[in-house]
Symmetry: C2
Subunit: 201 residues, 2 copies
């Protein structure tokens, strides 16, 4: 790169940094976020798990309620064993609805999971709460949507909540602070590759 080019690059990046710094300076609010990971792509629960570990790294106490049993797997559990004193984990669901084939049982499991969620929301020691696959329970009307959204909206000001699962309800998205949609660009299952230990579970 010539001196001239280097100088132009520097000038351009100086401007960009000024814009960046100004943007950061504008943001002053601190609050517990309602975060939603939705969409058909991979990474919804995995990103929640990553977020959880960042919080654990910060020494926080974290709660997890799994609305669908089996959605999180052995790999995660083993990893979280290293943080056993910081994690309160509840597997409440009964497997995917096509596994149980019993709607009443699914509804009962979802209600029990919601009762557990409310207890964790009321526990001031918990700073991050992951509600894994809650969107599925809402999608199939296993839980009253308005009540769930209302309870999540009046969470403690310092509590972060992450909700995962496809087909997030518009009412939940409206109440959320941060919503990411995971889209499939390309999936190895379509090429006949199976779910593998260490990657999918």
């Amino acid at each position: 790169m010539s001196d001239d080019e280097a100088a132009r690059h520097r000038a351009k990046m100086e401007k960009r940094k000024a814009v960046q710094d100004a943007e950061v300076a504008e943001k002053t609010i601190e609050k517990g976020l309602l975060i939603v990971h939705t969409g058909p792509g991979k990474g919804k629960s995995t990103a929640a798990f990553g977020l959880m570990l960042r919080a654990l790294g910060r020494g926080w106490r974290v709660g997890v309620v799994q609305y669908i049993k089996g959605a999180w797997e052995t790999g995660e559990r083993f990893a979280l064993d290293r943080f056993a004193d910081q994690v309160e984990w509840h597997t409440m669901g009964e497997g995917f609805t096509w596994e149980t084939q019993d709607r009443d049982r699914d509804v009962a499991a979802a209600r029990a999971a919601w009762a557990r969620t409310e207890a964790l929301m009321a526990d001031p020691a918990i700073r991050l709460l992951v509600l894994d696959e809650l969107n599925i329970a809402l999608r199939y009307d296993y839980l009253p949507l308005a009540e769930v959204v209302e309870a999540l909206s009046r969470r403690r000001p310092d509590l972060h909540v992450v909700v995962t699962g496809r087909n997030a309800k518009p009412e939940l998205i409206a109440a959320a602070d941060l919503v990411t949609e995971m889209a499939v660009v390309k999936h190895h299952f379509a090429a006949g590759v199976k779910a593998q230990e260490g990657i999918e579970f």
Copy 2:
């Protein structure tokens, strides 16, 4: 729910389960995946981090090369300290390009990171390799795209590689097994909320 409705639900779910089971049975290939997390939304690095911890939970040895310094933060580092014997971590980058304001330095840092990547790819003990923000280095032509894609494509058959960062190159997407695009539906920064400890870093 009436007995009739319950029976119909059961029959529907039985069918769905049969389809699901058949789909799973079709997938028989096991291979090291080339995974790409791209898109403007959040969760690209966080999902890679979650994937890493799943692999660590399985007892794997994992490598990380950070192409941009500061893209992963203290929270992650603290969490990974619990797996110090399983993680080989290299922070090679120099900060975002608008921080360094020096293209030659950025290029040199990217090349050093790539040399480190090649060494980790050649180490048979490593089963998962995270190349965080490599897409940024490719986007700014800090590295020769064809060479990088070719090297990733001829990785060991049992090595999984995760590449993160916005604007993944089409050539990389073509070579990948699994590509997820993280899209922004809603972002709290837009509402003036700042980056917070335990969530963003």
